[in-house]
Structure formats: C-alpha cells, structure tokens
Symmetry: C2
Subunit: 671 residues, 2 copies
C-alpha cells in the first residue's frame, strides 16, 4: 500500500526539486514577460466579450456604448500599470500586494489581501479553463456541448502536470504567449486593413442576428446601471496585472527596473489587443447575447453562440480557415497557461502565509513537495467545484472574479500612499522628495480609480455572485486569524513557562521497560534501557491473563536479569490505564525524577501487518505523552518485511542520492 | 473530537467490567437453562413453519409429510442432544466444538469449525431478528410492511445494549424464556384439549385457502428432493443446541453434570414444542405458502400471511385475543434473546481465536472492551447487510443458516470419536471402558446422523444460498490461516535471530537532539537528553531556510550550551531524508553504537491542533524506526489544552478509580 502510493506519487510528482537550483534561474525580460503576463494577457480573451454580452441585455442599440466602456477600461488598466510600477520599485522582494498591505496598513489589511488573492487564484483557474473550453468549443462543437466535462478534465491534467513539477522552462511559457500576442495583433492589423483600408465587408456569422432586449427598452438609471455592469465585467481585463509584482525576485538585475519595464510593456500590449478586438467586433458586426436562446430571435435552429474572438477570427480570416483555427488554438492555450499561473502562485502565497503563521507551519518547508502538493490539489478541487456549480459558464464565474482583484488593488494602492508618506517624513533630498511625491500622486490616482471600480463592482455584481467570493474571503480570513491566534497562544504559553522556571537537569532518570513477553524485542529494549544507565531501571508487565503473567514471571526469574519485573494488576483486562496509573504514582513519589518508558515495537513493512502488531503499544504511547515529566522511547525491532521500506527511504528514489553525490550532506556550521 | 468520542463511547458502553467480578457469577440450572437455551428454543418459532412452507411448493397434499418430517427432526435433535451430553462431560472447559475439533482433529478442523461458528453467529442475529419482525408483524401490520427497517433498528438497539454491557442479570433471560416456554406449552395443551377432547373446530385464518403447487404436481425424485429440502429447513430447529457446550464453566458444580442435565431438559422441551406446534398446525388447518401471492389463489385481496405460531395462537385462543398477543410477544422476545446470544458468543470466540493467534492479538486483551466492541459492531454490521440483502425474509436467510451448524456438529462428533479412541487406548478399568464405549457409540450415531443431514442440506440448499455461507466460511478460514502464518513467521524470525546472536550491551549511546527552534520544548529535550548521560550528545537542525538557520545558530552560540549544533543541509527543503541520511552515517561510522534521536513534540488536546503541530516530527519518527540500531525518544511538551485529556485518562471515567480504591494497583510479584 505505502509502497504503491509512493510509486504512484513519484510517477505523478516527478523528481524532487533542488532549492539551490531553483534560486539560480533568473529571467530576462523576454522570458519574464510571457511567464508573468500570460494571466493578464489572457483576460483579453473574455473581457471585451463580456462587455458586449452585458450590453446585449438592453438590446443591440446598447452596443454603441462598447467602445467607450473599452476606453474607460483602458484608462483604468494604464492607471493600475502605472501604480504597480511604483509598487515593484518600492517592494522588490516579491511579497506583492500582501506585503505592501501588511507593512503599511497592518496585519488585518494584509490578511484581507491574502484572502482575496487565495480566492482569486481559485477563480483564475475556473474562469480561464471555462473560457478555454468555450474557445475550443467554437472550433470543435463536441467540446461546446461538453464544456463542464472538458473543463474538469483540463483542470485534472493541469494538476497532474503541476504535481510533477512546475516551471520546467521559460520556453513552455514563451511560445504560446508570443504566439497568442502575434496572432491577435496580426488579426487586428489584418482586420483593420481589410475593413478600413480595403473597405471589405467582413460579416461575422452572427452579424445578421437580431438581439431583443431582455426587459424591453432600458432608460435612465436602469441603463446607467447596465452600462456600469458591463464596465465591471470589462474590468476582468485587469486580472493578473499584479502578477509581476509577485515575481520581481525572478528578474535579472536591475530587478525592479526590468520588472517595471515588463509591466509597462504588458500593459501596452494588453490595451492594444483589448481595443483592437472591440473595434473589430464592431466592424464585423458580432452579436453576443447573454441568453442566445431567447434573445437571438432570428437565429437558425441549433445555433451555438461562438466566443467573440472566434467569431472575429472567422470573419477576418474568411476563406482562410487556418487563421481561425490558429487564433482559437492559441487563445485556448494562453488561457490554460493563465490557469497554470494560479498553480504556481497559490502554494507560494501559502508558504508565505505559513511563514507568518497564518497557515499550518508545515506548509512553510517544502518537505518533498508534500505541502505544496496539498496546496495544488486543494486549489484544483475548489476550481472543479466552481466549474461544476456554474456549468463552466465564463459569464457566471466572472461575477465572482473581479471583486477580489479590486479589493487587492485598492488595498495595495492605499498601502503605497502610506508608504510614501512614511518615506517623505524622513527624506530631505528635494529631488528624491519630488520623485516620491510623483509616485505618491500616481498611487493616489490609482487608488481613486481602483476604489471607484471596486464600488461599482460591488454595487453591480453583489447579487450576481460577488457575495459568494466575499463570503469565501471572510471564511478564509477567519480561518487564518484563528490559526494565528492558536500559534500566538502557544508562543505566549511558552514565554510564560520560560519566565516562570529555568531549566535544571532532572534529578534522576527513572526508566521503565514495558514487557509483555520475554522475546527479542523486549531483550533489545532492556539492553538499550540498561545502556542509558538510568538511576532506577525496572520492568513492568500488565497482568491481563494470570497464566501468561505467571509464565512470564517464571521465565524472568530463570534468566537472572538484574532488573526487577513488577506486575501491574489490571482488573479490567486493559493495558493503558494501569500503566498510566503506575507512571503517575512513580512521578508523584519522586516529583523531580524524569520517567522514561521504553516500549519495544515491531516495525513492519506492510500496512496490514500494522493491524496485527503494536496496537496496544501505540495507544499507550499516545496517552503517555500527555503525562508531564514522561519521555517515551520506542525501541524498534525491524521485521524482515520492513527492510524494503528502509531501503526505499534512502536509496530507491534515486534523485536525492544522485543530487548529493558530489556534496557532503552535512556540514558543520560551527568551528 | 476525541473528547466527544470518548464521552459518546462512555454513554453507549457504560462502565468497564471488572474481570474478577465476572468470574464469580456461576449459574444454577434454572438460570443456566434460559441463558444458554434461548437460542435453541427460539428455533421452534420458525423451524416447523419452514417445513410447511417448503412442502407447500408441492401443493396442499404434501402437507401430509409434515408430521413425519417433524419426527425425523426430533430424532436428529435427540441424537445431537445425547451426543453433546458426552461433549460437555469430556470438555468442561467451555471451548465447545472449536476445542473438540482442534484437540482431536487438528488445527485445520478447529479452524473450519471456528469459521462455521463465526458465520453462524452472524446468521443467528439475522434469522432471529427477521423472525421476530415477522411475528410482531403478525400482530402489528405496520411492522409486517416495514420488516427490513424494523429489523435494522432492532439490531442497532441490540448492539447498543451489548456495547453498554452484557449479561447484567440472569433474570433478563429467565423471564422471557420461561414465559415463552409456558406460553407455547399452554397453547399446545389447550389446543390439544379443545381439538381432541372437546372436538372443537378451530380453523386458522388461512384454513380455507387453496394452495397451488408451484410447478404442478411433483412425483418421484422431485418429490423426494422436496421432502428432503423441507427436512433440511426443519433442522433449523437444532441451531443453538451447541450453546451449552460453550457455557459449561458458567455452571455451578458439578459443572459437567449440571450442564448435561440442562442440555437434556432443553432437548425434551424443544422437541415437545416442535411436535406440538406441528400437530396444532394440522388441527387448525394452517396454510403457509412459499409465495402467498401466486400460490394462495382464493386469498382475500391484501392478504398478508402471518407466521405459523401466530396463526395457531389465533385459532387456539379464538375469542381470547390476549392469548394471541401474549404468544406473539413472547415469541418475538425469545427470538431477540436468541440474537443476543450471538452478541455474547461472537467476541468470546474471537478472543479464544486471538489467543491462538488466528485473529489480531489485541482481541485477546479486553482493553476497556475496545476489542470486544469491535467484534460486536462487526457482527451487527454483517447481520444488517444480510437482513437488507435478503429483505428480512426468514425463509431466504435460513438457506444460509443450517450448513454452518451442521459442519460444526459433524466435525465435533468426529472429534469425539477420536477422543474416545485415544482414551480407550490407555484405559484398563473395564467399567470405565464400557462407559467410554457407550459414549463413543452415542457420538458415532450422532456423527452418522449429523453427517447425513449435512449431506442432505448441502444437496438441497446449496444453490438456494448455502454457497454464500460456505464462501464466507472459506474467506474467514483463509484470513485466519493468513494471520496465523504471519505470527508464526514473526516468531520464526525472532527465534532465528535469537539463535544467531546473543545480546551484548551496545558499546556506546550516541544521542542526537532534533532542533528546529530554540524554544522550551527543545530546551526540555536537551535537558532530558543530557540527563541520560550519553557517550556522544549532539544537536542537529535541518537547514530548510537559510535565514532561520543562521538565526538559530547565532542564538545557540550565545547560550553557550556544551552541546554542539550541527546543521544538516537540505537541498530539497525537506526534513525527513536528510535526518535519515545523517543517522545512517553515524551508524555506519560506529556500527556498535546505538543512536537515540530525541524529538521534542507538542502535545495538544484538540484534534485540529494536531494538524498545526508536529507533522514533520511525526513523519520523521515513523521513518526513523525503520533504521536498525536507532531508538526514538519523544520528549513531550504539554500545551495547556492537553491537560484535560490527561485528567480524563486517569480521573474522569471514575469507574476505574472507584474500582481501585480499596486496592493497590501494583503488586510486586517478586520478593
């Protein structure tokens, strides 16, 4: 069982990483861009479509708002990029928004950001994969009718890949990201050239469809609300912009400058693609309805609404289907890559939070990637739940998505303003002060922008699903505070104990060897116990069966051990309580003694053997530890079946030994 | 969690038993009869009915065979009783058939009997409860239409009662058993008086129904087969006869004689009830069909077939419904009591088998009844599965039942013949030899009888369900042999090791304290480790984070411990493997040293705290035990939350301390 599971794990997880090897893979800008920007770029695949889709509720006439909404989104995007360029300069450590908020606004703000980010990682996976499914579905109808199944399988595959090992090469990111960028740019250029220069007519397949408003004609406040809602959805384009701020340490030097440049580059490219797609959508007359079945009255029977990107590509590359297939393929690919970003980010954030004791300690050390694996599996699990719960519908998932991103943006910009205030208070150099003031102004503008968007998002999306994301954030927040409180309480307890008493060596060691039979494991335990030269050494046995006990006592007498064997009566034929009672009595008779209980244990190699041995010993061991002033020593007797396990621990996986061959695994840190 | 489960267990399980108290409740015959005979007597409730039911397949005319089948069953019953009277005299230890078979025929025979008995215990519960449900259903139609639910609930209630504590008083058995015996006897006497002396007409409610043969008229071999099958079902009356042979030690002296007398008494009463019921059934014209819906053509719509006992009672006590209700109530009650017998017997047999190493060792000691509880829950679980799988239909369950009983009878009688042969080989006293020869003859006749019945049962029931019981027996047999083989292999391994090497004291103790932080748990571990005065004492820490490690080394230097701190590098940021490597190296440098690894551990009181602490330590501990020549010492640091658990272990349950007040729990078995 354990053998199989280890083998299975190896197969899935691959060889362990060496932390020193990871540390030396610094990224040039041309690789850093695709590695960190795939998330942000991929948003272009669904953000403009969501703008049209939301506007469709008010009928075709509302489509006229689309370019203007696009412009506002671009404005917000550029502001956020400008703001984050300040962030990466001020906080080059890679802590990102969590660090900025914690340092400047305190723990609670940091935790709020962390909760928002954790929720967002899950949503990034769900939204990206659902959108990838929709894009592939535009080319392959079978996928369109099995979106949920496809998405779940995709998440599982991604999980398996990430369990095997992450970030194997920058090329894996570079090729699809540049292909996507090139493809979309080419399509935009070619489309604009055909439409505006050649004056070609490029009707999308939905160009002739009539869109009916869902609730009749909207006007006044209702229309404003709808436009704001479309804008909120369009702001999905901003998701992932913060990724670079978490990745600064991976850049080549000068890290901050390179990161800032990459950020700007990413912003410009994203903005161009976003606006280009909106313009092309209008040129080709794409119709995207929120509810195609009821809104598109003159659609042919069996009409399946394709994604906007797919429809635009089809129209622009009409007569050249390879272009259409290329665009949908690279779009799907970059979306999968974006989902993968979350698989990298989630466990890293988890380990930072664990270091700050908001998550269980063991997440901090990578320990054969076990903790990281748990994070990856957890992330995938929640994403699968979301995909299934929302039928892999991007539009429905996106309602949950944006709130977290903007909570994090807003908190981070607020933190930056404080940051500059703090520095301005001590800085005297006028040039430096001017630079700081300028940075602060940028962050303040960023705050105003992101804060407003957050309010708009909350108002327009709350009932549509944002409340779920907020509730999840609250739960995570409370959980993390609870964990931290526990660790703090433990630290307090230790500090109190430390101040109350200083350690003196225990006066004597009273060693008790637990005996059930006089066989080799017991003899070994006795020999080891004697070798520790305790002040008192005695053996005890629990009398659960008079005949057995008498035989044991007789054997003991015959052997002439110098160790006395005491018989502890057990009127209820149980083992644990009489031993606990006995130990307690020894302790209370000699309070300054330390009691060591030696327990002989069989070590077996198969899980079912464990059922046949040591059950009483294990139970007893667990309970003994609760008694103060007691140590428990396990003296193992390895049965033959255990040998394979011991070998496997040290030799079989190979990787470690191979990794260690040139190097002494121990080095004395002291003289 | 653990607190709750203990509380819940206490609530269900009640106070622990004292083994010395159990030993002194010897039973007079008048109590022993109901305690051990309820199982056998209760069979009367379904055995005669099953005879009629099987015959119904051939139509009403076949009912004429019923009394003759009854006579043969009585003959078998009396033979078996006579045989077992020899058993209880020869084996008064209470080992029963398992002991007789093991001693005389060897381990394999003993195991076969044990497997058969374990399967039978499960079936006793299922059949008895299903029959109880049918009888109660005859008086309360709601129960008849919800037999499965009723049976499952009844088994759960019985399980809870048995987890609380068994055999609280003989009266609990005596009252219902005597009430049942008195009720049935009275009914038989009154019925025969009315029918034969007064010449009353006492038609049962089904007396006017026409029974159609299921497969047309049967003749020749088919009829013989059917009659044999009806006889097999009737032999269900014999189930439980062997119970007294397991209970001999509980009888007052002279144990064997009293047990033999009780056995005879039980046999006579059972036989009288069986034949009485068959005669009454014929007098009242009861019609029992295998498939009432198709066979009883002129039944009124919605006709629900009542049990034979209920129909007879209704007819005999016509105009006096209290009689009918009394009979069905006491019948149901004794059936539940019979099911309870299995709850007593199953764990006892399990503990005997564990003593012989056919089941996990821990079943041997009662340990706060935990092992017994597992047995009881397992028994109930399997019984529930059977009840659900067979719709709580007695007729379908009984096909599985009889084969096990007769395997056990046959094995036991074969064993007894061998037993007498062995004794005859050495015995010279003619009177004694004559007595032995007579006993042997009785057992031989018993063997002939039970062997023939076993063959008949196998032939007539195999396809109807007996194969399931046989398959279950085979699985249990193989499982038990496997467990025994494992224990034997371990014993062999130890013996080989013992002959190869004699123990010498290890030359030196090399003590390693595992350090992750310099806090109180670590200081305590260091102090304790130093108190054991090892030959080499060193501390090691695994470097998973350079910053943390440097801080630790600096603190360590400041404190001026006399213990060196070694830093073990961990290129893969894990803990277990570097430590294993290090320990292995220490061992190979000094093969005669014993390495003790001291691990500081937090002890916490709540299950979720366990998730937040010690995960790495636990993992490491588990792996270290696989390395030869290594001891692992846990040095616990009890957090405050653990105190309640420690208290609970010793004080809270109360029972033990109360039980122990007058008595010192330790007594020195040595001078």
């Amino acid at each position: 069982m354990s053998k199989f599971s280890t083998a299975a794990k190896r197969l899935l997880v691959g060889r362990p990483f060496r932390s020193d090897r990871l540390a030396h893979t610094l990224l040039p800008k041309r690789i850093a861009l695709p590695v960190f920007a795939s998330d942000a770029m991929s948003s272009v695949a669904y953000a403009p479509e969501e703008i049209f889709l939301m506007l469709s509720v008010a009928g075709l006439s509302a489509y006229a708002f689309a370019p203007w909404i696009g412009v506002v989104v671009v404005l917000v995007m550029l502001t956020v990029v400008a703001s984050y360029r300040q962030n990466v300069r001020a906080y080059p450590s890679g802590g990102g928004d969590y660090e900025v908020a914690t340092v400047n606004l305190g723990k609670q703000a940091g935790l709020t950001v962390a909760s928002a980010l954790l929720v967002d990682y899950v949503l990034t996976v769900a939204v990206s994969i659902a959108s990838a499914a929709a894009n592939i579905g535009s080319a392959i109808p079978f996928v369109a009718t099995h979106k949920v199944e496809f998405s779940v399988v995709a998440i599982i595959v991604l999980t398996a890949i990430n369990l095997r090992g992450i970030r194997e090469s920058g090329a894996a990111f570079a090729v699809p990201t540049y292909a996507f960028m090139a493809g979309i740019m080419l399509m935009i250029a070619f489309g604009l050239f055909r439409g505006l220069v050649l004056g070609d007519d490029m009707p999308a397949e939905s160009a002739n469809l009539q869109i009916n408003a869902e609730h009749g004609d909207l006007a006044g406040l209702a229309l404003v609300f709808l436009v704001l809602r479309a804008f909120s959805s369009g702001c999905a384009a901003l998701t992932g912009v913060e990724a670079i701020s978490n990745g600064v340490p991976a850049f080549r030097k000068p890290k901050s400058k390179n990161a800032a440049t990459t950020l700007l580059l990413m912003g410009v490219i994203a903005v161009v693609m976003l606006m280009g797609l909106i313009v092309l959508a209008q040129l080709t007359g794409v119709r995207i309805a929120e509810d195609p079945a009821t809104q598109l009255v003159n659609a042919p029977p069996g009409y399946e609404q394709k994604t906007m990107v797919a429809q635009v590509a089809e129209a622009v590359f009409s007569g050249f289907p390879a272009g259409f297939f290329f665009i949908t393929a690279v779009t799907a690919l970059i979306l999968v890559l974006a989902a993968n970003t979350a698989f990298n980010g989630f466990p890293v954030l988890g380990s930072i939070l664990a270091q700050d004791r908001y998550l269980p300690r063991q997440l901090h050390t990578r320990g054969d990637r076990l903790a990281f694996s748990n994070g990856i599996v957890g992330l995938a699990g929640f994403a699968v739940v979301l995909v299934i719960a929302f039928d892999a519908e991007v539009t429905r998932l996106i309602q949950l998505y944006i709130v977290g991103v903007f909570v994090s943006f807003t908190m981070s910009q607020t933190g930056m303003i404080r940051h500059w205030n703090r520095h301005l208070a001590t800085e005297t150099d006028p040039a430096e002060r001017r630079r700081m003031r300028r940075s602060q102004a940028i962050n303040a503008f960023g705050l105003a922008m992101t804060g407003s968007v957050l309010v708009v998002v909350l108002i327009t999306k709350f009932l549509l699903g944002a409340w779920i994301a907020i509730a999840a954030m609250a739960v995570i927040y409370l959980l993390m505070t609870g964990i931290r409180k526990h660790y703090d309480r433990v630290a307090d307890e230790l500090a109190r104990a430390e101040s109350e008493s200083s350690f003196v060596l225990p006066s004597r060691i009273h060693t008790i060897v637990l005996v059930s039979k006089l066989h080799l494991p017991t003899r070994r335990a006795l020999a080891y116990a004697r070798a520790t030269r305790p002040d008192v050494l005695e053996a005890i046995t629990v009398n659960v069966d008079d005949v057995d006990t008498k035989r044991l006592v007789a054997e003991w007498d015959k052997e002439n051990f110098s160790v006395p064997l005491k018989v502890v009566e057990s009127p209820y034929r149980e083992i644990t309580k009489p031993v606990l009672e006995y130990v307690r009595r020894v302790r209370s008779d000699n309070p300054r003694d330390v009691v060591t209980v030696f327990i002989p244990e069989y070590v077996v190699g198969r899980w079912w053997e464990q059922v046949l041995h040591n059950q009483s010993a294990l139970r007893l061991k667990g309970r003994l530890l609760f008694q103060p002033g007691v140590m428990v020593t396990s003296v193992p007797w390895q049965l033959e079946s255990s040998e394979k396990v011991a070998e496997r621990d040290l030799v079989a996986p190979g990787a470690i030994r191979r990794g260690l061959t040139g190097k002494d695994p121990m080095k004395d840190a002291r003289k």
